[in-house]
């Protein structure tokens, strides 16, 4: 039984998306639970990807290709997980703050979070504080992540946190910030819960916060 989970993890690591989808279906047909396949197959595979990326053995495209294979597996699982009301790792609302149109770094974090099993709600770029508030109310995520690439727009991270406080939803979520000019000190200063210098670290921290 465990062999097929190992096989899923290995194929996911190699980015074999079609193979992963087939194996996930096969595992379900053999009677495994969706949660088991998710945790011990797909997420276990992504854990190895994350570890090897952090160690410098994998490159970004290889992680993205693995994340894509993860998605192929998730496509098979998702309807079942929803039916059975089995939780995923957690929901994550992400966006680049108001006034900032930079997308690439935020997208990388998003893809890696999805790869780690998060359900990510992407608000896009130039996201006004009100849109973050609405998203928190609607999706009730565990974590909110904000991105900014400019020193002139990172101040809007502070404004967004204040708006979440004023709306009374600040304490229902954990808040993470990141982006080239952002530092751990700045994150603390504006009252964020965490700062991540890069995408893999963001995933690691998000998983801790979501527990």
């Amino acid at each position: 039984m465990a062999d097929i989970l190992q096989e899923i993890a290995t194929n996911l690591y190699d980015g074999e998306d079609e193979k992963v989808a087939q194996l996930v279906q096969k595992a379900l047909d053999e009677g495994m639970s969706p949660q088991e396949v998710l945790n011990d197959g797909l997420i276990a595979g992504m854990d190895v990807v994350g570890r090897d990326f952090k160690a410098g053995d994998l490159f970004v495209p290889e992680v993205l290709i693995a994340a894509r294979a993860m998605q192929a597996g998730m496509d098979v699982l998702r309807p079942l997980l929803a039916q059975g009301n089995v939780p995923t790792v957690g929901k994550y609302v992400i966006g680049t703050v108001q006034g900032d149109l930079h997308d690439i770094g935020k997208n990388l974090v998003k893809m890696m979070l999805e790869g780690a099993g998060f359900e990510v709600i992407d608000l896009g770029v130039d996201v006004e504080p009100g849109v973050f508030i609405e998203a928190v109310r609607e999706h009730q995520p565990k974590v909110v992540g904000m991105s900014a690439l400019l020193t002139t727009t990172m101040v809007n991270m502070k404004a967004t946190i204040e708006a979440l406080e004023d709306a009374g939803v600040r304490d229902s979520v954990k808040i993470m910030v990141g982006g080239a000019p952002v530092t751990a000190a700045f994150a603390e200063e504006i009252g964020a819960d965490a700062y991540a210098p890069d995408a893999p670290t963001a995933v690691e921290i998000a998983r801790q916060l979501a527990e």
């Binding site: 970004v60 690439i104 210098p197 890069d198």
Partner: protein, 482 residues
């Protein structure tokens, strides 16, 4: 779209001399040979030249243009070099560029202790093994002059060290004919006989005249030995500006060219068709310290110039790069190595030695070899040029891109990133925090670690036992015949 004719990729190159400049230097060299003349302190070579049509006056041998023209006509345009396993790995021909280490450093920087100390046979073998494990290094030289053996045996032991340490082609030096004979005996054992060695040479000899205008006896003797046995040979003079050569680069080139052509003429007189690697070494004699500067821009300027001369003659060419005057592996070392390696590539110098020299060639450094390996890898990417084709123009990926969204996760990126983007081995691109976490190591520290790792892990196919027997016999004979 039907299959269209591909657009040729341009690979950047440099010419230092115009046709007119090449011809002016060539004619000046012919003038030096026929009017000024050279001193040949070797009776056999003197007779060879005189019988072929040279003459002697004022104690100098004067060589007419005809001898040069005939030698150029009989010298091969290419020297196919093999490794000691008999595989063609280094076809020396114009347009190709091969890199390797240098010979006979007095000192080495101990890779374990960082101490600058005298080199030993073991160092030669270890640096050869390191070079064997570096994929940008094509051939090995000794990088050390063994100090633990009698001086007259140092070259022989150095050769054995290289042979044991690496399977890559060897460029070797020697002190005299006895060295040449002993090394030849070992080389024949490696290749499987004289004919096999002639067909698949894995070694090339480096002898040199003394600039200006002097051919010493042992040097000529070694050159003639190579011609007799058809061992590939190079005979680069060193008319360093202000030292062995005039202070001006053109004068140094004209003189060096004349001296190199004498080497060519001699080999072709002994045996027409002897594989001869044309070239010279032109450093600057520093006017403050009087050292011969290996990092001087004059070297990086004259090397492409004599490579232009080599193209004019249709001969493969010798050069040098990846060396520094710095006493440590620092920013200066990086600058000097990069400038020279870049020019070696851009000019298409065929065989480029001295990679890994520090302290103006007095000392060898494994860290420097490892760093130069990375520089060569980097510059190789630059001279690769820009492929312009349907797959690289990325028409469709650009068309489907979301404005501001980027290409990071686009299929085109995921499919092509491996070949489309260069990735460093040693250069650091870590994020600051990660760099600190991993020890905050500078380039030289990382190079040291890589060198030690290669020494610990890289395995070299050992010499077959019958060859080792010959090696031991030759070394024993040396001990007996003190």
């Amino acid at each position: 779209m039907t299959e269209q004719i591909p657009i040729e990729t341009m690979h950047p190159s440099v010419r230092m001399l115009s046709d007119e400049q090449v011809e002016a230097i060539h004619r000046t060299s012919l003038d030096i040979l026929s009017r000024t003349g050279i001193v040949v302190k070797h009776e056999g070579a003197r007779r060879l030249l005189l019988e072929a049509g040279a003459w002697e006056s004022d104690g100098r041998i004067k060589i007419p243009e005809r001898l040069v023209t005939e030698a150029l006509a009989s010298a091969p345009s290419r020297i196919p070099m093999y490794n000691r396993l008999g595989e063609l790995t280094m076809p020396l021909e114009l347009g190709k560029v091969f890199f390797g280490t240098g010979s006979d450093c007095i000192f080495t920087i101990d890779v374990e202790t960082g101490e600058r100390r005298r080199t030993t046979t073991e160092d030669v073998e270890r640096i050869a093994r390191l070079s064997d494990g570096l994929d940008q290094i094509d051939f090995v030289m000794s990088m050390g002059h063994p100090s633990e053996v009698p001086p007259e045996d140092a070259y022989l032991y150095g050769f054995v060290g290289m042979l044991r340490g690496s399977t890559k082609p060897i460029v070797y030096t020697a002190s005299d004919r006895r060295d040449m004979e002993d090394i030849y005996e070992i080389a024949c054992a490696v290749a499987g006989g004289e004919e096999a060695l002639r067909e698949r040479p894995f070694l090339l000899h480096y002898a040199e005249p003394i600039s200006p205008l002097l051919l010493p006896p042992e040097s000529v003797d070694k050159l003639l030995f190579c011609a007799e046995k058809e061992i590939p040979v190079t005979y680069p003079p060193s008319p360093n500006t202000g030292g062995g050569g005039p202070i001006t680069m053109a004068g140094a080139l004209a003189l060096g060219n004349a001296e190199s052509l004498v080497g060519l003429v001699l080999t072709q007189l002994v045996r027409p068709g002897t594989p001869f690697l044309y070239g010279m070494n032109i450093a600057a004699l520093d006017m403050k310290s009087a050292i011969v500067s290996y990092g001087a821009p004059e070297w990086a300027t004259t090397m492409p110039a004599w490579t232009d001369l080599a193209r004019f003659y249709g001969l493969p060419v010798w050069g040098a790069a990846g060396a520094t005057d710095s006493k440590v592996v620092d920013a200066q070392a990086g600058i000097e190595a990069t400038v020279s390696i870049m020019m070696a590539f851009l000019s298409r110098c065929t065989l480029v030695h001295d990679v890994g020299y520090i302290e103006y060639g007095t000392t060898s450094s494994m860290e420097m070899v490892v760093i130069a390996d990375e520089i060569i890898r980097d510059v190789r990417h630059i001279v690769g040029g820009v492929e312009v084709s349907e797959r690289t123009l990325a028409r469709e990926p650009i068309h489907r891109a979301r404005p501001g969204g980027g290409f990071l996760a686009d299929d085109h990126t995921l499919k092509n990133w491996r070949w489309a983007q260069w990735r460093p081995l040693l250069l650091d691109r870590m994020r600051y925090g990660e760099w600190v976490e991993k020890g905050g190591k500078d380039m030289t520290t990382r190079a040291n670690e890589r060198a030690r790792q290669i020494l610990a892990e890289h395995e070299v196919e050992p010499l077959p036992e019958d060859v080792e027997k010959v090696v031991r016999r030759v070394l024993e004979r040396r001990k007996r015949n003190k």
